[in-house]
Subunit: 266 residues, 2 copies
Amino acid sequence: MATDLSYELDRAVDLTQAGDDRWRGEVDPGWTVGVGVPNGGYLLAIALSGLGRVLPHPDPLAVSAHYVSRSEVGPIEVRTESMRSGVTVSTGEARLVQGRRLRVHVTATYGDLGRLEGPTVVNEPRPEFPPPEACVRAQGPVAPEFVRRFDLRLTPDTAVWATSRPSGVAEMAGWIRFADGREPDTATLPLFADAFPPSTLNVVESLWVPTLELTVHVRARPEPGWLQCRFLTRYLIQGYLEEDGEIWDSAGKLVALSRQMARIHD
Amino acid sequence: MATDLSYELDRAVDLTQAGDDRWRGEVDPGWTVGVGVPNGGYLLAIALSGLGRVLPHPDPLAVSAHYVSRSEVGPIEVRTESMRSGVTVSTGEARLVQGRRLRVHVTATYGDLGRLEGPTVVNEPRPEFPPPEACVRAQGPVAPEFVRRFDLRLTPDTAVWATSRPSGVAEMAGWIRFADGREPDTATLPLFADAFPPSTLNVVESLWVPTLELTVHVRARPEPGWLQCRFLTRYLIQGYLEEDGEIWDSAGKLVALSRQMARIHD
């Protein structure tokens, strides 16, 4: 598989083969959310870079990541395993390992979103946001390093935690695209699903909300352009929370659903 | 670990050790949803029966299952692996194997729900349903075999697919408990999360809606008594769907969230 390395992301998830089902990569300091701590969605993108090479279907449909121990910037090994290849779907796992420590365990079911057949019933309207020009761009010296990889705009309603005080509603919403012009595809939707600030910043002040588990369902191939995203937490219970995400493409089509379990650290 | 075999479920998920991290079980015909096809939540309960023995923490917090190939009634092997044991959480995987075929791959992060500390913010009200006595009991000769293991009552609004015609809203809601009086616990909540009829029966007639992936977040230990459940599908797209579930205990506390990806077969 030829890899296009024109874009930051593709360079940051590039792998070289190191053996049967073993791949070497590099956790890039450009994708960190704190001092030396890589973003969870970025680690998942590294895992999918490996799985995309060993599974026969083109699109991740359901991706589950468990964050087992804290990853670091630097060399990383991806151990892939194709567990089953069927006609319509295939399933595999990828383990991200640093030294001898397992960092992330990913299981993924792949399929072909260009060949689906079956009924469609969508009663949920797409939410209306102010356009990107009327939203608040996440930037500045306090933004985590990895935010610079994106053009990320929060709606004024959900950006208030940063400009004045938490809104009281655990929601983050807005628009996102890669800063360098790379267009979204199905392999990058799981990364976008973990790129917004934690929705709980609008109810509890805590910048450190590590992900324990992240599942992304990819439902359609995105058109080029902005992605419209909404992330919502309904149940923050004794420091543990779910964050549910929806991602629509520039044509207004739902392209992914996400849910993560995370924990607030004081 | 002593196992109480007073109840049907505990007998149906009982395992005997067959080696290091290898366990033998039996897929029981009493837990099938069609001719010889075991329920996905039941298979997950078998996997957790194995993981509960090898991980040090008492409660599954986040459980991800990928259904790799179709399981059958009969002998099954559970291959467990403890991937990391930390102070607050531990993570492991379980593989359900029949013959040489991988059936289900499960990854789970365990913790201790009796020792959580942190803020609680829940703005979502619990939905009000008619009481169990005013709901429609799922039973009769056409009900799948595994439904007999439960006392399952659908709200009149969501039971209409069975009694007259689909409601047009992809929702199933109601009450559930084990038929033999076994009380719910955190290891059984993932089973309850896959026990209701598919929510899509209220929009599309198809009894065969196999699960590709199921993730359950266990958020609290349930009190004894009825569980109140709601399952909703917002996006049925070309035959693929998510089904989102919420489970509250008899004290009105949210105890689990679930999401599965499934596919409608005509």
